[in-house]
Symmetry: C2
Subunit: 230 residues, 2 copies
């Protein structure tokens, strides 16, 4: 179960989510697993970058399934259980984005080729939270100049624009910092017209990767947040 939709960029502070398993797991081990699960799901979604003060993600293990108690987060049993739960956590987290204020699109921003996860996330969040990128997503406008702008202003030290690649789903838009010679605006517009799409950005400087999930900025977003009292 998950409830959310306003002030969404959980940094675990109004979003509420509850997951229960009938496995037998110790509190200590559940806490360690939950941290990893949150990082792979709820801590990777953003509607507007604004955090709230009371998000909660609770994982309970009733133990009614029986069997020995899983107590070590690095054990095979803990890994197996966590692997089973990752898709569920992601589904719940992504459901919050699909239900985001005024959301008309569900967008995955996947960043590869970074020197570490931190810089991949920096780029992913800057793209996902850029008002110009988000209004282009609302319009279904394949404005890759705005994407390149957001990548550039993310603040990755020493990033070489000539090594950056960008895709809309499988459509290659930017190759080595320039518009891909095979790119056509029709191909881009086709992907941007979809309700769900992935923006992939390769930074060309390492092996790290990460992704965040976001929505667009619509008239409805402004209406909900400007006229919520009327």
């Amino acid at each position: 179960m998950a409830k959310g939709a306003g002030m969404i960029r959980p940094d675990m502070a109004t979003m509420l989510a509850f997951v229960a398993t009938d496995a037998a797991v110790s509190q200590r081990c559940l806490q360690a697993m939950l941290r990893d699960l949150a990082d792979a799901s709820f801590n990777r979604i953003t509607v507007d970058g604004d955090t709230s003060t009371n998000d909660a993600l609770i994982l309970a293990a009733t133990g009614v399934a029986g069997g020995p108690v899983i107590d070590d987060a690095s054990s095979e049993g803990a890994h197996a259980l966590k692997a089973l739960m990752v898709p569920l956590f992601r589904e719940l987290a992504q459901a919050i984005i699909r239900d985001g204020e005024g959301a008309t699109r569900f967008v995955t921003v996947h960043v590869t080729g970074g020197r570490g996860e931190a810089e991949c996330l920096k780029v992913a969040y800057t793209v996902a939270e850029s008002p110009l990128v988000k209004t282009a997503l609302f319009a279904g406008d394949p404005n890759w100049g705005r994407l390149a702008m957001a990548v550039g202003r993310a603040g990755v030290e020493g990033l070489d624009p000539a090594r950056v690649q960008i895709w809309f789903d499988d459509v290659r838009v930017m190759t080595d910092g320039l518009m891909d010679p095979g790119y056509t605006e029709e191909a881009g517009a086709r992907v941007l017209g979809q309700a769900e799409l992935t923006i992939r950005i390769d930074l060309g400087r390492g092996d790290a990767a990460s992704e965040v999930w976001t929505s667009d900025f619509s008239y409805e977003y402004v209406r909900i947040n400007a006229e919520y009292r009327t």
Copy 2:
């Protein structure tokens, strides 16, 4: 002269501004002055946090006024000239915000009581660029909870919420982290209904201060940036 309005948070990258003086000043000295002047004006405005790739601010000195060439940026002459130019630079920079995409309000975010200018600016930009704050500004809604949220998520290490004060112009909203006992929503709504207002935030931990100038997020902002091709 200044031209701007899209992708506005100059970090000196589409905004163009030109200032000329008939004073006699050396190129080296002008460059030093220009850096200070930009930091006190154009580098303190933001519409949406999105930077562009080719802002320019040019300061020319023709020397037709005659007199000895000012060559030392720390000289009395340079200081006097700079002091004369600050209001002009601010007027031009603020004119870009007043003319911002869909802007209906001109808002000064003034942060005091910081341990350094950097943390004051961090808080000021987080408030000025928060979509929830900006939609409240559009609505004329004195939603100080959103302000407190943005202050909190700005990432100032060790900030004590119980020492934070917030004002809308002269109306005190938050005292020591709680709603001011004398605050009324009518008083807040009166200020928020104005075309121009100042949000003042005191962090209660030092003597540093800084400010940025921004606009609100309106339907018109979304329209301009989503439908600019149609």
